[in-house]
Amino acid sequence: MAYSDKVLDHYNHPRNVGSLDKSSPDVGTGMVGAPECGDVMKLQVKVNPETGVIEDAKFKTFGCGSAIASSSLATEWLKGKTVEQALEIKNTDIVNELSLPPVKIHCSVLAEDAIKAAIGDYKKKQTTRSSEAVAVN
């Protein structure tokens, strides 16, 4: 199967591979997987709680080239966006950018799910923290 140059570029030189401190209150972690192919994707964001801007994003994906490329691209896009802007990233944006073939669309869906899961985790941590703060007061 032929892959677009962009997929191959991300596959051969993935951006932002690694991990952030999962226990930090400013870090949101999203872990998603696709049962049909056994792919698993971890995506993390570090958010500035004052501004709501994503300052850093890391990922680690075990799976096919398209899954790696989708999550690599996602981390590139996430940096500098606010949490709300990040939630607007759609899997179709990833499909278009990487020219993914129809059989690989689920990889982009996985990346979108991972973004949503990571941001969801961050927001959950923030609400827990603020409710704790209220409880202390």
């Binding site: 998603v32 049909e36 056994g38 971890k42």
Partner: protein, 198 residues
């Protein structure tokens, strides 16, 4: 000429149940194999000969599918309009994803030539084998639930829905066991190119 049913259950003349008596199935397989044996058709017309051939093909496919509990369930689910493998990640329990991730990290270390991960992988393998056994017990219970329900009823549909979830989880576990085996015993594993992974 008799009309052949392509539905495995109908072809074998057995009830559409998920729990099957394997001995009974095997007996039916032998009976039907004799009935459709090409030798018995050598003096028959060309149409009858070709039908016997077709029947033998259905018979073999059907036997292979029905005698395996997982293949049998996948077959019945697809037949009932519950195609397997079309679920999203939210159906996979988060704990399992964590484990899959950790395991893949270990596999990567081992591939990188770091043998210290080997004992951990052996432990992981045992763990996933145990998980598969647990999943198989879960399937057995769900098979019984489906078999006890009225066909097409809400209970039947609910059972099929649950079975699909469990089958997807099982597939995940199967893949893990395969990956671990491949890492622990690379010589025995089939060659897989990088292009094939892409």
């Amino acid at each position: 000429m008799p009309i052949l049913s392509k539905n495995f259950y109908d072809f074998f003349g057995i009830d559409r149940r998920l729990t099957l008596d394997i001995e009974q199935l095997q007996k039916r397989f032998y009976e039907l194999s004799r009935q459709w044996h090409p030798d018995r058709f050598s003096r028959k017309s060309a149409e009858e000969q070709s039908q016997a051939l077709e029947a033998t093909a259905i018979l073999n496919d059907g036997y292979r599918t029905l005698r395996d509990p997982v293949k049998r369930a996948e077959y019945l689910l697809t037949d009932e309009g519950f195609p397997v493998g079309e679920q999203r990640s939210k159906d996979v329990p988060p704990e399992l994803l964590e484990e899959v991730f950790e395991l893949n990290m270990m596999l990567e270390e081992l591939k990188g030539g770091d043998d210290s991960a080997r004992p951990q992988l052996e432990t992981a393998r045992q763990h996933f084998l145990a998980l598969r056994t647990a999943v198989d017990h879960e399937l057995e219970a769900l098979f019984a639930k489906y078999d006890a329900s009225e066909p097409q009823s809400e209970t039947a549909k609910q059972a099929l829905h649950e079975i699909r979830g469990v089958l997807n989880r099982r597939r995940y576990i199967e893949n893990l066991i395969r990956d671990v085996d491949r890492a622990l015993n690379p010589a025995g594993a089939a060659h897989e190119s990088v292009e094939g992974r892409l």
